[in-house]
């Protein structure tokens, strides 16, 4: 080895160094980024990979439903509601009908209530299927998503059988359902109860104890119960923090008190807990559907409320009274009494409330939708502060913010 002469290392004096500028990067996440699952924008301030602060811009698909509703007869408002949370439209539709029924003091027969429960729980399953499987996609597990999508398709086929539509369902009528459960519908629901558990079990097998999935979701986007309550969380996101508030149990509507089911709760309010709560809720929903279809009462599927419920077509053609009522309902000539009401149902994302003021006319004087997504989405910057961008994407998809509900 030849001797190597080591040169003295030259350290430049501080003054010679270019001044180090610490700068935060502004990152525009959205409005049409595929990872945001909807049209909303987040302007994030990033320090490298870490999020320092964020600001949301929403309202990209605002359609002024509350304003439109002030002009529409009551039965036409249903079609506005199913465009809010379009992943579980029947809950929105039936929630609105129940608000009006409570307002007009219409007694809905048991059979209609049970059919409604079945449809609402199927809607909850389809809502949670999307949320959980998309969460899998965001962590890199695409297979599960396509696999359970098939089951959502089956739920949509049941909707089709019950109301004729798939996504924007306009399901049910004021006073009951628009038609009875057909034999095919009953068969499809029973098939679904049989074929869904193995699929859900496989999704669980894929994700629940998956090392990568757990590492990506545990302690990510956590929120405490106190903060969640302050931010107005309801539904699975609140239950993931450990509080068992569920409208179905606290203020039972549509005969929910007849069914045996549990409310799953989480502990830490993180992404993993939200995933687990939704997962367990699907099992509970399935349990409710099973109980309802097995104990489906006989009897009429609509209330005796001729002023509000469209008469059967053959009666319209053959009886004067039915023709008059048909005309009055379709033309929106039925006035509601004056008053105000707040009614809430457990939507896919939490407490979906309808606050309606009537001045005695054919349309509401004021209708306000309490949209759970709109209220809890404001916590998002706090929840993803300090986390990396890829974790923030997971937090957002586990919150299940639905753009239609957010913007109404």
């Amino acid at each position: 080895m030849a001797d190597i002469e080591l040169l003295p290392h030259q350290v430049p004096a501080n003054a010679e160094l270019p001044e180090l500028v610490e700068e935060l990067t502004t990152l525009n996440l959205g409005p049409t980024h595929p990872a945001t699952h909807g049209i909303f924008q987040n302007i994030l301030k990033m320090d490298g990979e870490k999020i320092v602060s964020g600001e949301q811009t929403i309202g990209y698909i605002h359609r002024a439903f509350e304003k439109i509703a002030e002009r529409r007869p009551y039965y036409q408002i249903t079609t506005l509601t199913d465009r809010m949370n379009y992943c579980s439209s029947p809950i929105n539709n039936l929630g609105w009908h129940m608000t009006m029924e409570k307002f007009l003091e219409v007694q809905v027969p048991k059979r209609a209530q049970y059919i409604r429960v079945i449809m609402m729980e199927l809607a909850r399953i389809s809502d949670h299927i999307i949320c959980n499987s998309i969460l899998g996609v965001d962590t890199g597990a695409f297979t599960g998503f396509l696999y359970v999508m098939q089951k959502r398709e089956e739920i949509y086929e049941i909707y089709e059988e019950v109301c004729g539509a798939r996504l924007t369902t306009n399901m049910g009528r004021l006073g009951g359902m628009e038609r009875d459960l057909s034999h095919t519908a009953v068969q499809k629901i029973k098939d679904f109860i049989k074929t869904f558990p193995p699929v859900l079990r496989e999704l669980e097998k894929l994700l629940n104890r998956n090392r990568i999935f757990m590492d990506r979701t545990i302690k990510v986007g956590a929120i405490s119960t106190e903060r969640a309550l302050s931010y107005g969380f309801t539904g699975p996101n609140l239950r993931a923090t450990g509080l068992d508030y569920d409208v179905r149990v606290m203020n039972p509507y549509s005969s929910y008190e007849d069914f045996e089911f549990d409310i799953p709760v989480g502990q830490h309010g993180d992404t993993y807990d939200r995933y687990m709560v939704r997962n367990e809720e699907m099992w509970q929903s399935l349990k409710i559907v099973e109980q309802a279809i097995n104990n489906l009462p006989e009897g009429p599927y609509y209330a005796d409320a001729p002023e509000y419920y469209l008469p059967p077509k053959d009666e319209v053609y053959n009886s004067m009274e039915a023709l008059i009522y048909h005309f009055k309902i379709v033309m929106g000539e039925i006035d509601a009494p004056a008053g105000e009401i707040y009614h809430a149902v457990e939507g896919g994302n939490g407490e979906l409330g309808f606050y309606m003021i009537s001045d005695g006319g054919r349309a509401p004087y004021r209708l306000h939708f309490r949209r759970p997504s709109f209220i809890y989405y404001q916590a998002y910057p706090e929840m993803c502060k300090g986390s990396s961008l890829s974790d923030a994407i997971l937090t957002m998809s586990s919150l299940n913010v639905i753009a239609g509900e957010l913007d109404a």
Partner: protein, 166 residues
């Protein structure tokens, strides 16, 4: 379980004539108060040891253009998870002085709900940290939910209500 009577009596005892117009539409205790007292009333029932009506379910605005001096109204819906008790509190404010104190200090969730109310009705929430439009574009120079903006074109003549016997 809390009864409407119990809460109403407690509030009357504490605030006297500052709380008024008690009603029970569909069993939901409804009362009105003034904007000077609204913060104290909300804080009182939120921090009350027994009531624990501490969840802000909903906050929204309503407009009554014909009620002179009380053209606008802010409606709060609160919920106690402990007692499963709901309450509705209303505050009327005049159009000439369209201000009301913010409740963002009590609930974070009030932030966007107040912004939404401002966006649609122009109600100014004093002390709000970021009172700007939320669902509509920022350049908008009117408040679209107000009754003076009819939904349909007022110049149309084929949709007169009288023609339909209304």
């Amino acid at each position: 379980m809390l009864s409407n009577q119990e809460v109403a009596e407690e509030l009357l005892g504490k605030f006297g004539s500052q709380v008024f117009d008690f009603e029970e539409p569909y069993g939901l205790l409804t009362l009105s108060t003034t904007r000077e007292e609204i913060l104290t009333v909300l804080e009182f029932i939120k921090e009350h040891n027994h009531f624990q009506i501490s969840f802000l379910t909903d906050l929204t605005g309503v407009q009554y253009p014909d009620k002179t001096g009380q053209e606008f109204m802010v409606v709060y819906h609160l919920h106690s998870f402990v007692h499963n008790f709901r309450i509705r509190i209303k505050v009327s404010i005049p159009e000439a002085d369209i201000h009301i104190p913010t409740v963002t200090g009590l609930w974070e969730s009030a932030n966007w709900m107040e912004r939404e109310t401002y966006d649609f009705y122009g109600i100014l929430f004093d002390g709000h940290p970021n009172l700007k439009r939320i669902l509509n574009i920022e350049e908008m120079d009117y408040f679209p939910m107000r009754k003076e903006y009819p939904l349909e074109d007022a110049t149309r003549e084929d949709k007169i209500d009288a023609l339909f016997g209304r």
